[in-house]
Amino acid sequence: MNFLRGVMGGQTTGPQPTEAETIQKLCDRVASSTLLEDRRDAVRALKSLSKKYRMEVGVQSMDHLINILQTDRTDSEILGYALDTLYNVISNDEEEEQDESEDENAQKQGDDAGTKFTEKFLQDPEHITLLLTLLEEFDFHVRWPCVKLLTALLKNQGIQVQGIVLVSPMGVSRLMDLLADSREVIRNDGLLLLQQLTKGNAAIQKIVAFENAFERLLDIITEEGSSDGGIVVEDCLLLLVNLLKNNSSNQNFFKEGSYIQRMKPWFEVGEDNSGWSAQKVTNLHLMLQLVRLMVSPVNSPGATASSQKCMYQCGLLQQLCTILMATGVPADILTETINTVSEVIRGSQVNQDYFASVNAPSNPPRPAIVVLLMSMVNERQPFVLRCAVLYCFQCFLYKNQKGQGEIVATLLPSTIDANSISAGQLLCGGLFSPDSLSNWCAAVALAHALQDNLTQKEQLLRVQLATSLGKPPVSLLQQCTNILSQGSKVQTRVGLLMLLCTWISNCPIAVTHFLHNQDNVPFLTAQISENLGEDERLVQGLCALLLGICVYYNDNSLENYTKEKLKQLIEKRIGKENFIEKLGFITKHELYSRAALKPQPVFLSPEQMLFDHEFTRLVKELEGLITKAVHKSSEEEKKEEEVKKTLEQHDNIVTQYKELIREQDAQIQELKEKVASMTTQTEQLQATVSQQQSQIQQHKDQYNILKLKLGKENQSQSNNQGDTQVNGLQTEELSQLREQLEELRRQQTLLQTQLSEKDAVIDSLKSATQAAEGPAGGSDNTELLQELEALKNQVQSHLAEIGHLKAERQELQRRAEAASSDTAPPSDNSSDATNAELQSRLAAQTSETEKLKEGRSELEKQLASATSTVAILQTEKSKLQTEVQESKKEQDDLLMLLADQDQKIHSLKQRLKDLGETVEDEDDIDARDQTSDEEDEDED
């Protein structure tokens, strides 16, 4: 106010008129001032007035403020003031807190104002879009009031605002981004905003879920300490409830996203459960509610079943059962946990079996079921807890024949264990206790053990009760009717009648048992025909139903109470119309339709505990049938009976034929399958045969080629036929062959080195011959000849060796061939497996043959090169021989010359002798002749 006075000058006389004027002036300034500072100051002033003079500010300034939001986008300060002002005008929350002193009337006025201003704001949907874009402004002073303003608008006009947000493409994702804001205030107010946004709008719920809401919310819950967390956790849980409630698509997403598993740690409560804070209790309540949403009986059966399975597999059910048996858990949490466990096990055999196996940590350990039933029949336990236990028991038995059998068995004489308290004992105790609530609960619980289970209905007829000393035991059925006739409380009688109706319906033996007691029918007719007060009408209706069941499920085995006689009795004693009217009392009861809604027994007060959900189903089923049965005359009945019989016969015939057809169908199916498998087999076999044929052809071709090749080569070296092929030893032989091949290769290299050595020798020989070519000496010649001889020998031996190798190679080839050809023929008609084996072997062998061929061609090449070397050597040799011949010839010539000269010398000597000269001895001359040849010539 002081600030305002400063701004506005001295206009402070009498606030009311001047304030309105002031606001008008401020609005003018907001609208017309060109200076941003001016506008900003004016908006700030409006903000400060907006709480106290909400109406005035709202009426006059809203348009201007919205205008500011549109035009002054760059100045976050003015935006903040404008948003704050709008929030103050539109929101009803602050009002309530501020004006506590004002009377209710004024508050209502305020609410009206909020709605009015909201409507005004929403006149243009663009305004919401504008706010959504402003949310992108990071500045705290803009974003925060923007969030609050949107929340207030949603609170006042939810559906309309939801509609606008929905059609702005980025709207929901912008709002979702608030959850990621690092400023907790904004994140937490964002949660409140999303709560309002998702209320009752499945389309928005789905988009929010699509924008990863589950992930974010579960993260926040974990960060904040799960159930120990504060109000933020609660807000997250409330939002989760909004997203999942009645939204099967989101539930499916929640389950498929593996978020059920993330709920398990929520329920890990410690040993010490004393002193839970109110917040923790609230949080756990919501957590349990979330679990129940996923397995609610109103969900589609498939969805609930898969969630139940998941909860067992991830250990959530086990965790809940731990809470169930823990000590110190607050009663309301315990109650809600029991309700939750009930729905997690309902109709799921695995979960029901697990539940039956849970034991309380007492000494000796007792089954959880027994401990729970003890609470149900205990008057001192809270009413809601007893209801929860009854629900749990009902869910345990729902569609659980095994469980039903186990419960009934605890009542049968043969299986009673006297040492421990059993479920059956507790139920009987409850049935006949003085507490009517216990009577009702026990009766309904027992009825559920018989639901849709003929075996157990018959079994329970065997149960006998010891009453007082000296009296004979009474059957359970009889005891029930006895109590009924003693005129106890309505609740007790209603419970017992429901049990009896469930028990004997659809069970003719039980009907006979019931009718066998002579007192029962007169009691029922008396009850129905009497004109009793308002309170008794329901009991009358139930008695009519029971009598009707006796008519409808009567197998006429008792002569006094055949269908016909009972009907006559009804007509005489009660009157048909009266009977039908009384029967109608049941469905006309005000509590009937409530119970028919859902399986969980929920009652506003213990007195209202009258109808059971399953029983309402039975009534619906039987009412029409009984009405018809009672109305029908005996003739009609007979006719109908006949028709029924013929129909039954027809049915029988039809079912017989059906079965026959089914059988034949199965046979045909079987045969078809056989045919199909046979065709595929044949196809396979044909394929293998053709494959094999082509393979055989290939092998034959190969064989022929090899044979031809072999024919061309030496046939003489076939002395190793001693080796015989044995099919089974092929692999061994193959390895042998491989070894041999290896050896051959080694020999080959050896030969090659030898060859190169030889080459060297030949080279040296060549040079030697060249040297010896000039003055050919006789001794040199002989040496050369000798060496040549040796070389020849060596070449010969190499040739022999090569020949040997060739022979070996041929043998190998033959063996390989034999191996491959041996394998082919028998595979014609052998099984697939051996075929495959043989084929693989064949392939291996062919490749081996291939390798061998390669080796052979290599060897051949080497052989050729060796032969060529030999040829070269031979030419060399012949050359040398001719050279030797030449030198011999020369020598001969020289010898001739020598002889000539000898002769000359001789003649000359003779002449000298003749002339009387002394001549030297011949020998001397002989010895000297070679050296003195030239001299001799010179002398010539």
Binding site: L166, V167, P169, M170, G171, V172, S173, A202, A203, K206, I207, F210, E211, N212, E215, S249, N250, N252, F253, E256, G257, S258
Partner: protein
Amino acid sequence: MAYAYLFKYIIIGDTGVGKSCLLLQFTDKRFQPVHDLTIGVEFGARMITIDGKQIKLQIWDTAGQESFRSITRSYYRGAAGALLVYDITRRDTFNHLTTWLEDARQHSNSNMVIMLIGNKSDLESRREVKKEEGEAFAREHGLIFMETSAKTASNVEEAFINTAKEIYEKIQEGVFDINNEANGIKIGPQHPTTNSTLPSSQGGQHAGGGCC
């Protein structure tokens, strides 16, 4: 169940082209002959295997009716893949593809993989749109194309799986920022996140594959 990646898909296209049937065939392996109008969107999920890796597909099946168009637009941005479906026996559903595509391109992230699907391929006798036309449209707009039949289940698996393969390849190439969940991709709980932050983590991926 554990998965290496999670992909978000949307299915879009005119009303009555068989979007919901495609989803039902893919998730439940059954066919629903009666046309039940989808209200808003419906959710479905299934696990598939690509390159030896478990991949969870979360699929939002949208309503084709014009009145739901504004709602379904909210789903474009957060999806990694879209199946754009038309009906080969109804030319008008093919003619509307351009509008759908514009809408998708405008509101989605630029990397979204779009698979064009010509559904009802079992109704050959009533065909109004040639396969070549679908192929040409896909080529022109850079989409993958397939003709499917939700009734006979022909190509249904392939349509969903091939889309996933394309996304997976884009991840391998480093096109997608997989740490931003707004792209419709999430890394599984066991996946080594350090590897995935590298844009070109080909080597890392292989190493990861080896140890599994």
